[in-house]
């Protein structure tokens, strides 16, 4: 049995118990049937692999999430202060930024992290570049400095 199958089984059991919150024999049996059914369907669909279960990221993900949370709070403060400014002085920008040496998983994480932080949103991802729309030009400079890209690369290997 693959390690991914094992982790998916565990995840489904936790998901069921958390959502039902009832610890009765009948509920357990229904839960077991559901878990087995989902496992059968996903193995027939061939979706149990390291793309759907990126276990190799587990070691590095807590540090990345902590850093992303800090970024999230900082950019929220920035956007909220822009919103409450008496006179709006917006400098929006739409720029294509180069990136290199990222796996497919890395690209998805990178693009999603940019979209998650307020003030920047990814509009397109290609083989070696991303297109970003930013509320303020300074956010583009922050992304171009490559701090986030370096973090994602560290996460990925």
């Amino acid at each position: 049995m693959k390690i991914q199958t094992l982790s998916l089984t565990l995840l489904l059991i936790i998901f069921w118990l958390l959502n039902s919150g009832l610890f009765k024999p009948l509920i357990f049996i229904l839960g077991a049937i559901s878990v087995v059914l989902v496992l059968l369907i996903s193995s027939r669909m061939k979706v149990i692999d390291e793309e759907s279960q990126p276990l190799h990221l587990t070691k590095n993900i807590p540090a990345y999430y902590a850093w992303l949370l800090k970024e999230l709070v900082m950019s929220n403060i920035k956007v909220v202060s822009t919103i409450w400014q008496g006179h709006l002085q917006l400098q929006p920008a739409l720029t294509t930024i180069k990136m290199d040496h990222l796996s497919d998983m890395g690209k998805v994480i990178y693009a999603n992290s940019i979209s998650l932080t307020p003030g920047t949103v990814t509009t397109d991802v290609t083989e070696n570049s991303i297109t970003v729309h930013a509320l303020d030009k300074s956010s583009i400079a922050d992304i171009q400095s490559g701090a986030m890209e370096a973090r994602v690369r560290k996460l990925d290997n």
Binding site: L72, V73, I83, L90, P92, T117, P118, T120, L135
Partner: protein, 117 residues
């Protein structure tokens, strides 16, 4: 429940409420579709996050806490996905983002119906 968790809970809830209002104000004040989306993402991320954290402080059992945490994870996963889909669809259907002109300022439409600054 102890006094401390009550205070922490209320502080989080009030902050989350303020951020929700900020997001809505930004949605009305900003000039075009793309900039408005940035304002909406404040409500998407930190505002929802603070309200859910505030509720977690008041959770009577661990099951409730876990469910609230699960909601937080799903909101943080679906937010950027929806935002990306919206922005990409808008660009593909030919909507041009408002960008600063030669003067360094954005040229807002004189027509009030499009929502000026």
């Amino acid at each position: 429940m102890s006094m401390l968790t009550t205070y922490l809970s209320w502080a989080s809830l009030v902050l989350g409420g303020f951020l929700c209002v900020s997001g809505s104000v930004g949605l009305l004040r900003f000039p075009d579709f793309f900039t408005r989306m940035h304002a909406a993402s404040v409500t998407d991320t930190l505002a929802t996050g603070m309200i859910l954290v505030g509720l977690m402080f008041q959770a009577p059992t661990w099951i409730v806490f876990g469910k609230l945490f699960m909601i937080l994870v799903f909101v943080l996963l679906t937010g950027p996905t929806a935002g990306h889909a919206l922005a990409k669809a808008a660009l593909h259907s030919g909507l041009k983002p408002l960008l600063p002109g030669k003067s360094g300022k954005i040229e807002t439409d004189a027509n009030p119906s499009t929502g000026g600054v």
